[in-house]
Symmetry: C2
Subunit: 246 residues, 2 copies
DNA sequence: AATATAGGGTGTATTAATTACCCTATATAA
DNA sequence: TTATATAGGGTAATTAATACACCCTATATT
């Protein structure tokens, strides 16, 4: 029912949870506030959307680009927060996104100069001191990602192009915050047939080199699409199960 | 990053997909547009949110109330659409919700008088002629609900308090648009132990009366919460499976 | 009272997925 | 050569999912 638009303009905000996998930890990119209110607290990176010609997806991508210099990043809209008391100065409608970033080894260089003073990659375990309602927002995203990783290959967005099964398992363990059994993990993940064996090995490791794999996106997409033709089977209530106990 | 609020006001819209189960069909409540553009097309019920003191959840609840007179309905935020070209008069930011309504037998009376001319419960199969981008929006909600029903007991929101297993199965069949096996369905659904056997039977049916059940919400909540303590087991990619083929 | 109708209610065998559990092979560094 | 650190693989037990068909019972009709 979008009619009689007295004021078609909109002023609202983007908040973005940016996740990365680095040094065996799941991290998120946060910005330290330099102003009141909440001076010195962490905030999720974000911006106000003032240009009425900018799409919110573009605005979110811009937040990411301005902080990291990265483009074409995996990003998804999460939820819209619009409680009237979120901000002291009046209602701020925030559309929250989450993004998954492939961190290079020189990750610090990916923080654009003018921001580096205030921005940092922080381990997701035990962050405190968020401004506004960002604690709640961040926790909800984390919960969503922990669930989504169970039925969607978003984890690969956090790994380098080529990776070993052990690296993949470590990532799942870090995201889910639990140990997994090695053989069962491998059996299952290879069974899906969405990994391409590159017939290459790690180099420059001081132990037995492991095989390298690549996520086969085309194959995954094909399987996913053919699944959709005949609609998914269906346990009425049950959660997805599996991959339990190392 | 919500600072320097030059214009803290926001003008945006709510669109709401309202689902109900009636006469063995899944239906949605639609409104026929009486004005250009898209005169005579179906639209999702909705409203503009102009009051800066109204939360969007309240606004969505209000849309529902004004159409049906119902309160306390199950309702969930779905997605925010903000493409700049959604509406001819400028950008309209729409926060989409979906709601699940328990339709009484006298469902017509639940359409508030002034609206009944323009509003109707329409079977979700094969609706066409939506205004704006509401076709896409509606289809995405339906897909979401079809998926969500597999791991969350939202279906019970569509049934009367007391229901038979056959009614429950019919509902699942209608939502998923596929036949399910009676014995397997019963086995599974009773196995979850979230139905309370009321030790009552149907009355006024011209065939053998079936037992009545009730969704045990407290028990479900308990189970769900205890699951969350030790985080869910986890097939990395796989979709939930089950309940296939009658 | 016999019969037709409409749906209620159940059990078992097969297959697939999940879990638990440990040892050997290989590369490197000392 | 040896110590060490990680790669990599198989099997049995359990649990969950699937496929499948018949008898029961309340009511309405004759």
């Amino acid at each position: 029912m979008e009619t009689n638009l007295s004021r078609p303009e909109s002023v609202f905000a983007i908040d973005c949870v940016i996740l990365g996998f680095d040094e065996g930890e799941l991290k998120t990119l946060l910005v330290k506030r330099s102003e009141e209110p909440f001076k010195g607290y962490w905030t999720l990176p974000g911006c106000l959307v003032v240009d009425r010609y900018e799409s919110i997806d573009d605005a979110a991508a811009h937040v990411l680009y301005s902080l990291t210099g990265l483009e074409g990043i995996y990003m998804e809209q999460f939820y819209t927060y619009a409680d009237v008391d979120r901000h002291a100065d009046g209602r701020v409608v925030s559309v929250a996104y989450y993004a998954m970033v492939r961190l290079g080894s020189a990750r610090e260089s990916q923080l654009i100069a003018s921001y580096t003073r205030n921005a940092a990659w922080v381990s997701v375990l035990g962050i405190s001191g968020f401004a506004f309602d960002h604690t709640m927002l961040f926790e909800k995203v984390l919960k969503k990602v922990r669930r989504k990783v169970l039925y969607h290959p978003i984890a690969f967005e956090l790994l380098p192009e080529k990776f070993t099964l052990t690296q993949l398992q470590n990532l799942y363990e870090v995201i889910l915050n639990k140990k997994l059994d090695k053989r069962n993990f491998r059996k299952k993940v290879l069974h899906y047939q969405i990994l391409k064996d590159l017939n290459e090995k790690q180099k420059d490791v001081s132990y037995r080199a492991a095989k390298l794999f690549k996520f086969d996106r085309e194959k995954y997409t094909m399987m996913f699409e053919s699944e959709n033709l005949s609609y998914q089977p269906s346990p009425p209530i049950r959660q997805a199960q599996g991959m339990e106990k190392g």
